[in-house]
Symmetry: C2
Subunit: 151 residues, 2 copies
Amino acid sequence: MHGSTHTIRQNHQSDSEQFCNIGEAARLSGVSSKMIRHYEAIGMLAPARRTAANYRYYSDADINQLRFIKSARGLGFSIKQITALVGLWLTSDRSNAEVKDLAMAHVCELDERIREMQHMRSALHGLAMRCSGDGRPECPILDTLADQGRS
Amino acid sequence: MHGSTHTIRQNHQSDSEQFCNIGEAARLSGVSSKMIRHYEAIGMLAPARRTAANYRYYSDADINQLRFIKSARGLGFSIKQITALVGLWLTSDRSNAEVKDLAMAHVCELDERIREMQHMRSALHGLAMRCSGDGRPECPILDTLADQGRS
DNA sequence: CTTGACCTTCCCATTGTGGTAAGCCTGATG
DNA sequence: CATCAGGCTTACCACAATGGGAAGGTCAAG
């Protein structure tokens, strides 16, 4: 079940591409090894190439893709959205309109969530301001929570 | 294993308290039966009383507690926070300072999350504005995602 | 050859909600 | 009384993303 090379370098084409382990890839990309495997498992990443010992290995291009994913996560895109973005990124004859639509849809989602949370924040802050917080049991916060939606 | 009453009413004390099934409780409180069972399972609610046929039943007070929980969820409190709030609510000699602390802590969490999402939103919107979306492959959104965090 | 640091897979936990299936119970109708 | 629809029970599975850990294989250096 072995006997072949243990090394990661594949020089059969005389190119000098650099390869690395998943740990190194994680360090270079900022995506944890855990998540790299996860992304592969759910199909966001193509299955990684493997050494004879079944270790995943990654090229520079793979690292760049991981960085791409990391950046997209930082903007709050979901896995599905990122899968789509990566697909577009890797497609040379893509339409930037598709990308922009994806981005603007996500802007709207963010706006929606921000609006919801601002509603919560202002309602809750308003309640808290009405509560003296002086240690007595009377509490307009609890009273309001209890009275809301009463028949 | 039976032979006793199938009905929910428990008139042994001559009080006229009203009881209802979990479905009715869900309808009255706005919390789904699914979630009522879940809240009970994770200890946020005391185990419901059961009929002889093992059906959960709920009193008016229980319904009020469910409404309280529903309101607190609407303000974005987590399960743990709500468990604490319910505990305070049910305690007559509570201190409103504790409640206010809980509320203000949650306001801070909301502020934090709102800030994060606003960062994402403005960054992403800025990118999208730079993308013409005219159908060509060139796309500053993808370019930026790809270039961010480069060595 | 041993040791430590890696890698592999598999399972579990989180948070909050929903779905589904198998089986029992209830109330209403024929 | 028999039957049927619809409610209830439990016990799973699923999602979003992420982390933790165990059990075992592998690599590199000493």
